[in-house]
Amino acid sequence: MAEVNEGAAAPSARSDYSRYPGTFKPPAILIQRAWLRRTLWIAALVWLVLALSTIEVNWVRVAEGMERGWRFIKGFLTPDFTSRWKDISAGLVESLTMTMTSTVAGVLLSVPIGIGAARNVAPSVVYYLCRSIIAVSRSLQEIIIAILFVTMFGFGPFAGFLTLTFATIGFMAKLLAEDIEDIDESQTEAVRATGASWLQLINYAVQPQVMPRLIGLSLYRLDINFRESAVIGIVGAGGIGATLNTAIDRYEFDSAGAILLIIIFIVMLAEYSSGFVRKWVQ
């Protein structure tokens, strides 16, 4: 009997719902003030219209280009490795040697600079000097550095080597310095308490904590340097980029496709093997 009563009670409870609001607006996620949100939306819309209107597109040229685009896709699918193989292999050797030497040189140089840029182990004069080297290296793009180095050292992979080394220093030294600043203070203190010299301190307390990540970062930078080495050739700093530039200039899209596939392949290989090495180091 009780069951029947409750069964009858349920619909009446349902009719009570009418006293609750029937609409709900989910709260705004980012910007709470409605007027600000609306203003920003309108501003974004105005910008979009303005930006799109300033693009001047030569549709005749684009239509013409569609045929070339199709040829590029075909070239990418049926790459031609053979007819320009001499240029490709020369460019590839330059790129790979440049990558290898500049990563090693860059990492070696970034170690003292990174240590110097760590607030907890370096005196303040050294700290500011190293930090400014890092800032300059990081804010200048590889291409811009390459332009300057090519002007100073002449065309060819040597300028490319210097460019990539310089860029590596900024990248590695910053991350290394942050790592050193993050290390466990109690370990440095323990070593310091034994009366260790500054060099011993670095060797015993800092190096073991930072080393695995340093190796991992070096491998990552190796990958980046290879990709960059394919670009700086465009401004004359050697490497596969120069070969690619020529191929595209001559509309030899099948050779260009071959070069791009080689680049993709090497990047994949580097990524795969660096994962392997990183696991092995740990």
């Binding site: 980012l30 070339r68 990709r227 670009v231």
Partner: protein, 269 residues
């Protein structure tokens, strides 16, 4: 272990492992020396020796910068910002479906679709935006459009990679709960997955926008619009004071965009 008559030696690695590590280092050094010789085979050392003089010469030509040149840089700067922003938008719009196709928990087929999506990501990531620009200028002609598409193509891989990793890291229990209510596939995506990856998505997009600002400043070197066009023209005419001025503007833009990106990301997280 050690009796008194043998000299106790403390080692933290076994002999075999130590040998292997030494051998590895030796190999690295050999490879490096070999690479160096190959690379510098055609280097003309006279030019290198001349470099300090060249540098001094270059320095004297570059300074002071031609400040008045800035009047001609406003419009290219506007173009550069538009290339970066529109390119980021384009890349992000394409990257979203690619990321969902690549994530192992949302892909419709692990055997056919996922490898294709992963290849798109690798291809896009391996090729620098300047190379994309080079190609596009040759295909559709010089101008802003080539720059925007180049930035977009390069951004796909970057955004899609980080996004699909975020999708794979979502909490499975929340998705299970939404599934249990009888939600359809699209609703599970909308209620279970999207809210979890949205902050990561905003962060990634702003981060890429910041990188794209840097990259779009030089696309003009190959004719893809923006301030790089002025840079190329000034370099060709050896107008070094103008080059310096352009560097100053680029540096300023990069610093500002980095600041904006850091602020926005901080606000989101």
């Amino acid at each position: 272990m050690n009796t008194t008559d043998t000299v106790p030696v403390w080692q933290h690695r076994t002999t075999g492992k130590r040998l292997l590590i030494w051998f590895g280092w030796l190999l690295l050094v050999a490879l490096c020396v070999y690479s160096w010789q190959l690379m510098t085979r055609d280097t003309i050392w006279a030019f290198v020796a001349d470099a300090p003089r060249q540098a001094a010469d270059l320095g004297s030509r570059m300074f002071p910068p031609r400040w008045s040149y800035i009047e001609k840089l406003w419009m290219p700067l506007w173009d550069t910002l538009n290339i970066a922003t529109l390119g980021t938008l384009l890349g992000v719009v394409i990257a979203i479906p690619v990321a969902f196709l690549a994530a192992s928990n949302t892909t419709p087929s692990k055997v056919f679709v996922r490898p294709v999506a992963l290849f798109i990501i690798v291809a896009s990531r391996s090729i620098n935006s300047l190379i994309w620009a080079l190609l596009l200028v040759s295909i559709i002609g010089p101008g802003l459009l080539a720059g925007i598409v180049a930035i977009g193509l390069r951004s796909i891989g970057f955004v899609a990679k980080l996004l699909y990793e975020a999708i794979e890291e979502t909490d499975r229990l929340q998705i299970e709960a939404v599934t249990a209510t009888g939600a359809s596939g699209a609703q599970i995506l909308n209620y279970g997955i999207v809210p979890q990856v949205l902050p990561a998505f905003y962060g990634i997009s702003v981060f890429r926008w910041d990188i794209n600002i840097r990259e779009s400043t030089i696309l003009g070197l190959v004719g893809a619009g923006g301030i790089g066009v002025q840079l190329q023209a000034s370099l060709n005419t050896l107008a070094w004071p103008q080059v310096t001025m352009i560097f100053v503007v680029i540096l300023g833009t990069v610093v500002i965009s980095e600041w904006v990106s850091a602020r926005v990301r901080h606000a989101i997280i």
